[in-house]
Symmetry: C2
Subunit: 192 residues, 2 copies
């Protein structure tokens, strides 16, 4: 009947709410309202309650953005162009969404880092998977492993920091400046 299963609709609704309102700011009633699902179903699919729901949402959203960013990166000719494309794409999405649609993990990660070990570890797994993939791409491009890892951390950090500044300022200036910096770092690490 519905285009997607109830479980998926609940996860999608949770992802959107967590991104904008954060973990304590998102209520279960809001989730079921947005998903068009009965409250009972949430606890049927996620017997661990809100914490389990958030953990699975983080993993799912993390994997989705992993694949999305990777596709953008791999669509370019080299690592420098790929890095530039990531930031250009981020700026475009930010602008089009009224500075709402940024990282689905960051807000929750900061909120739960000191208050929920399961969620903190879920966020860490997501970031680590991004870093591993980006590191391997940089190694493929010619960097040594240690430099590739450091550069990957700097690029992801730059992107996350840019999201924070851009969402606060309602401007894409930070994404553009950080994108230029990321491109410069990648080029320098490749000896260009």
């Amino acid at each position: 009947m519905s285009p997607a299963g109830t479980r998926e609709r609940i996860l999608d609704a949770t992802a959107e709410l967590l991104r904008i309102r954060g973990y304590p700011g998102t209520g279960m009633k809001q989730v079921v309202a947005q998903a068009g699902a009965p409250l009972g179903s949430v606890y049927h699919f996620f017997p661990g309650g809100k914490e389990q729901l958030a953990a699975e949402t983080l993993e799912r959203a993390g994997a989705f953005y992993h694949d999305l960013v990777l596709a953008v990166f791999d669509g370019e000719d080299d690592a420098v162009a790929g890095t530039r494309a990531i930031f250009d794409g981020a700026a475009e999405v930010l602008r089009q969404s009224g500075y709402e649609d940024a990282c689905p993990i960051a807000t929750v990660a900061l909120e739960v880092a000191s208050t929920s070990e399961p969620l903190r570890r879920a966020a860490d797994r997501v970031f680590e998977s991004w870093l591993r993939t980006l590191t391997s791409r940089f190694v493929d491009a010619g960097m040594g492993p240690a430099v590739a890892r450091s550069t990957a951390i700097a690029v992801v950090g730059l992107l996350e920091g840019a999201f924070l500044l851009s969402r606060s300022a309602r401007t894409t200036e930070a994404v553009e400046a950080s994108g230029a910096a990321a491109v410069a770092l990648v080029a320098a690490a490749l000896g260009r």
Copy 2:
């Protein structure tokens, strides 16, 4: 009787709670418990309620960190060493506090960017004041105004992104890698 006035104790308690638990995650009862103040006093000093209390806390904490970071930066011989000192200091504080004591603004800024205009603008004012000061220091060091501004954005973004990754991973790796990247960016912008 008390070493600091009630109003200041309330602001300090709020700053600590916001940093760790975020805006919707911090309750007024928690604030008064931590501050050792009666609930009535909170609404006496902050008639605008939770939102006004958070806004003033952001401004105050932002100014405090502004001065703190500036003192660390100015304690070094040049802009490159100053940048390095900021990240070294951040890593040390992070480690000593059990990865709790990072940026007092970032969590709230992400939470409220799309849900409270007054708080979003308060966070923006804080970031903008940091950027302006850092930009002027970079200009003093010899950068052109546009390069100085971009570099300042990259450095602040790198620091914020590093806090996010470090708090999630419970490791200072991200602060160290981001610090090295920030140092490289500043050195390159100074033509060194």
